[in-house]
């Protein structure tokens, strides 16, 4: 059984069919990429998994359970965490507070305990802190711990968002364009992180990414979408070589921040 399964999923916005009868499955432990031209419906797939949108047709199962029966806020307690394409952080809070919100799904205390801050509440706070500090160390965010999000550059925000998703200790991590806006060096960091997330933490990753260099390096399988439907599926090399993908998405000289990206792995 796959960890995440989408079956014949369709979603329309007015006249626009954003996702068209799409089926895909993500296996436990792999890094899976969704690629495709702008407006292909990649983010929409994420939004359906997050339950922000309900598909018109089709089913979405996570770990065998029907995700469509969950409310948006219950998705995270299933073990799914995500980042956003356009960065959605809690702007008026510090990095630390943002990450601690990520721990929300592990909350064990009741209202009264928290208001009186007795017993479990304090212990839980320490525990949360510990978990969050691990993520901070992992992503090298120590320097930003007490800074407010509003004052961070774009690149750091991207990392904080990743950190917040990791703080939930998910089984499946959805990354919407993790490397966009990052420099070469940062993209490389991102690559290592994604690999470590998979290897060390055992988290399955589903990501959307336009940087084919990164995709080529970290992903096991790639699904190319166009107009909401599957265009091609396979290893990165297979997909990158697929004529329809080149035609609709990659163009003649696929661009990556790392110039020789194509050479590798292909």
């Amino acid at each position: 059984m796959s960890l995440l399964e989408l079956e014949n999923v369709t979603l329309k916005f007015g006249g626009v069919t954003a996702v068209n009868n799409l089926s895909m499955s993500v296996e436990e432990g792999e890094v899976f990429a969704l690629v495709g031209p702008n407006g292909a419906g990649k983010s929409t797939v994420f939004n359906m998994i997050s339950r922000f949108y309900r598909p018109f047709r089709g089913s979405i199962r996570f770990d065998g359970k029907d995700l469509l029966k969950q409310k948006p806020n219950q998705v995270s307690s299933q073990g799914i965490a995500r980042t956003f394409q356009n960065i959605e952080l809690f702007e008026r809070a510090t990095v630390l507070q943002n990450l601690l919100v990520g721990r929300h799904r592990h909350r064990k205390t009741m209202l009264l305990e928290e208001m009186l801050f007795i017993g479990r509440a304090r212990a839980q706070e320490r525990e949360n802190r510990l978990a969050v500090e691990e993520v901070i160390d992992f992503l090298d965010l120590q320097a930003y711990r007490d800074q407010h999000i509003a004052g961070l550059p774009y690149g750091v925000r991207k990392v904080v968002e990743l950190a917040r998703a990791l703080a939930t200790k998910p089984r499946l991590l959805l990354l919407d364009e993790p490397a966009s806006g990052l420099s070469v060096e940062e993209t490389q960091d991102m690559r290592w992180w994604i690999e470590d997330i998979r290897r060390q933490m055992g988290i399955t990753v589903l990501m959307v990414e336009h940087d084919m260099g990164l995709v080529g390096k970290v992903c096991d399988r790639v699904l190319a979408l166009a107009d909401g439907a599957e265009l091609a599926q396979g290893t990165p090399a297979q997909v990158q070589a697929h004529p329809a993908v080149i035609e609709a998405y990659l163009g003649t000289s696929a661009i990556s921040k790392t110039a020789n990206a194509q050479g590798e792995r292909v």
Binding site: S43, N47, F52, F84, Q85, N86, E88
Partner: protein
């Protein structure tokens, strides 16, 4: 017959709410600020008119005074923006809310100082004369309120829909920075909309004062106008008129048919009911953010 009578006067009254609500929506649409002093603007506009027209003050001719009063209130709105609101540029909307509430205090104080605290009547040619159609009576003031309000709404609606400036105002409210990137003089545009709000308030004030007696607490009508604007979907101009009419019409029927003690709560109860079923009003302006 009675039904028609209630409906007509409800409509006329609703138009006054609609006019004040229009002022709210105007400012909201162009700046996303909520002007809690719009009702007091209206009161001020009415008193400016009284000051120009009534014999114990300047005693000008009514029709001469109308453009003058509109001008005064327009300038007032613009200067207010220039002298006060511009310093709040980019600050949170709630700060603007507090600012306009405080402004209301000041306006009431100043109006009391100038025109006194006792009720006054505008010497308006609209105030006299009724039109009788069988048993149904409608005063000239009511007719002019309805006509002017409908025209005003249409005009403003088209203004926002069609003109470059109207579009620029909407843009400025949605993203001030991007509006600047387009070369829109955001602050000046906002000044223009405050001036416009002053003018609309003055129109409302003149009509309000023609319909009845005026005192410095007339601005409290703003609360019902709020209800109207929200029912209409804060940010929609036709919605504001619609909301105004709904509130205006519900009132006479409620006081006609509901028992004492309950009738006066009808507009507010209605507001709450509408919001329960349509949380963003009839013509919703709120969207779910796409991520």
């Amino acid at each position: 017959m009675e039904f028609l009578q209630l409906l007509l006067s409800g409509l006329a009254n609703g138009c006054v709410y609609g006019l004040v609500a229009l002022g709210f929506v105007l400012i909201y649409k162009a700046t996303e600020a909520v002007n809690f002093a719009q009702g007091d603007f209206m009161m001020l506009g009415a008193f400016v008119m009284v000051g120009l027209v009534n014999p114990q003050f300047l005693g000008l001719n009514f029709w001469l005074a109308v453009p003058l009063a509109l001008l005064v209130m327009g300038v007032f709105g613009y200067l207010l923006d220039l002298a006060v609101l511009r310093f709040m540029f980019g600050q949170s909307q709630i700060a603007v809310v507090i600012l306009t509430i405080s402004l209301g205090f000041v306006i009431r104080f100043v109006a009391g100082l100038i025109w006194g605290h006792e009720p006054l009547n505008l010497h308006s040619p609209l105030a006299f004369g009724d039109l009788r159609l069988g048993d149904v009576v409608i005063s000239f003031a009511d007719i002019s309120v309805i006509v002017v309000t409908v025209l005003m709404t249409l005009f403003l609606w088209q203004f926002f829909q069609r003109t470059k400036l109207g579009l620029a105002m909407q843009a400025a409210s949605q993203n001030q920075m991007a509006a600047y990137y387009m070369g829109i003089p955001v602050k000046r545009v906002q000044g223009a909309v405050w001036a416009l709000a002053g003018v609309v308030a003055c129109v409302a004030g003149i009509l309000y004062a023609s319909k009845g007696t005026l005192d410095i607490s007339a601005g409290f009508i703003g609360i019902k106008a709020f209800a109207a604007a929200v029912i209409g979907g804060f940010g929609s101009l036709p919605g504001a008129l619609m909301g105004g009419l709904i509130v205006g019409v519900i009132e006479p029927f409620a006081s006609r048919y509901l028992p004492a003690g309950y009738s006066q709560i009808a507009p507010y109860a209605l507001l709450i009911i509408v919001l329960v079923f349509r949380p963003n009003g009839l013509f919703s302006q709120v969207r779910i953010k796409k991520v």
